[in-house]
């Protein structure tokens, strides 16, 4: 049976780790949403050099391990573990979110852009006020999936001493010499976060599929 005294005596550490996991995931989600939107717009903008730059970023980052990026942010920059980890996660996730947003934008009929432009809006205004609000609906389920991935990937903070749930688990197991039970509790804390998110995304996907 599991030794629940590991959980009760170290509750503060578990909760501290959970807090950092949530904060790092949320900041990285916000950051990668902003950066991802920028990259998506760059990839479809009517200006070739911007297209190339956006495509190069997305293709390069998507095809290298997130751990490489996290280590790089930690070693090349002068940041603490949590900051470096969050920056690494943001750089990585932005590439995936950019693809999700681009797909969303592409799903808005071309005529919408033409109509918006012909009413006198600039390209930027048309994008911001007409195309993006319509695209966002299609983008929400894949964004949710990226958020789940972020919560899971935030465990990489542990490798750069970022103070997250996984890191606290490592400390507790080193302190108590009870690795098995500690990791089971860490797993349960992750599931408390990820299972409701997965169910939510599944529900949104079904609803969206029905409305089409």
């Amino acid at each position: 049976m599991l030794d629940f005294s590991i959980l009760t005596t170290n509750m503060d550490s578990f909760l501290e780790g959970l807090k950092i996991t949530i904060i790092a995931s949320l900041i990285a989600l916000l950051g990668s949403f902003i950066l991802g939107t920028l990259l998506a717009v760059m990839r479809i903008a009517p200006f070739k050099p911007l297209n190339w730059l956006g495509t190069a970023y997305v293709e390069f980052i998507r095809n290298i391990p997130v751990l490489v990026i996290v280590f790089f942010a930690y070693l090349a920059g002068n940041f603490g573990g949590m900051t470096a980890g969050t920056i690494g996660l943001t750089i990585y996730t932005a590439a995936f979110i950019a693809e999700a947003i681009r797909a969303g934008i592409m799903s808005v009929p071309r005529g919408q852009m033409e109509a918006a432009r012909s009413t006198g809006l600039t390209y930027g205004q048309a994008m911001r006020m007409v195309i993006l609000p319509q695209a966002i609906k299609i983008v929400i389920p894949p964004l949710g999936n990226q958020f789940i991935n972020l919560v899971k990937n935030s465990s990489l903070l542990a490798v750069v001493a970022g103070g997250d749930l996984m890191y606290q688990g490592d400390l507790i197991s080193a302190k108590t010499y009870v690795t098995f039970d500690t990791y089971v509790f860490v797993a349960l804390f992750y599931l408390i976060l990820t299972i409701p998110l997965s169910l939510g995304v599944g529900y949104l996907e079904k609803r969206l599929a029905r409305s089409h």
Binding site: E59, F60, R62, N63, I64, P65, V66, L67, V68, F71, F72, L75, A76, I148, K152, N153, S154, S155, L156, A158, V159, M166, G169, D170, S173, V178, T179, F180, T182, Y183, V184, V186, A187, Y190, L191, T194, I195, S198
Partner: protein, 220 residues
């Protein structure tokens, strides 16, 4: 030229050979894991598709649990926690075991949705022509579903190649690990090493992603 000096220092034939050895380990571990995951994931996906009472539900709980956990936790667990209950593995085996557990769950979902994408009428037609359920799956459903599954499976292999890098936490001597050994020699080696390590991952994964894209286009 100060900026370039560490690059010239790091990029020696010996270091390249060392990194390529590491990449060999990455590719070997990823290849073994994807084959095992395909077999186990295929079995799980098919059993869930067949809706066998109790078995399907049990598998659903296991798959969802694994898919919702960080891979890093599964790797730590396999290598550090399992010995406490008497299951000890050496590093490479532990890495393959952890990756296989995680990727089997992922692949089972790809396989299940591939099977689900074949119209139900196909099963009815198969059964009506006198085949039993297993024969219908084997000769009618699987051959069609497998073709549709190939692009997502290639994409999953790219994820697996990237995920293999997480095994550096248990000191698997893979590409990232060997890179770490090189840059540990000198602070100024960090950037040149990361540039070359990232490029090596990128070249292989990008080539694979082009293959996946081609296959997708061919089908649609």
């Amino acid at each position: 030229m100060d900026f370039l000096a560490p690059f010239i220092e790091v990029y020696t034939p010996e270091h390249f050979k060392f990194l390529l050895e590491g990449f060999g380990v990455t590719l070997k571990v990823a290849a073994i894991s994807i084959v095992l995951s395909f077999i186990i994931g295929g079995l799980i996906g098919t059993l869930r598709y067949a809706r066998i009472p109790v078995v399907s539900q049990l598998l659903a709980v296991i798959v969802e649990t694994i898919r919702n956990l960080p891979l890093l936790l599964i790797i730590f667990f396999t290598y550090f926690a399992l010995p406490e209950i008497g299951i000890e593995m050496e590093i490479t085996t532990a890495a393959i075991a952890a990756l296989t557990v995680f990727e089997s769950a992922m692949l089972s979902e790809i396989i299940r949705s591939g099977l689900n994408s074949i119209e139900k009428g196909q099963i009815e037609a198969g059964r009506a022509s006198g085949l039993n359920y297993i024969q219908t799956l084997r000769y009618i459903i699987l051959p069609q579903a497998l073709r549709r599954m190939v692009p997502p499976i290639v994409s999953q292999f790219i994820s697996l190649l990237k995920d293999t890098s997480l095994a550096v936490v248990i000191a698997l001597p893979d590409l990232l690990h060997n890179g770490q050994i090189i840059y540990a020699q000198k602070g100024s080696y960090v950037i040149p090493v990361f540039v070359i390590v990232a490029l090596m991952y990128f070249i292989v994964n990008y080539a694979l992603s082009l293959v996946a894209r081609r296959l997708e286009l061919k089908q649609s």
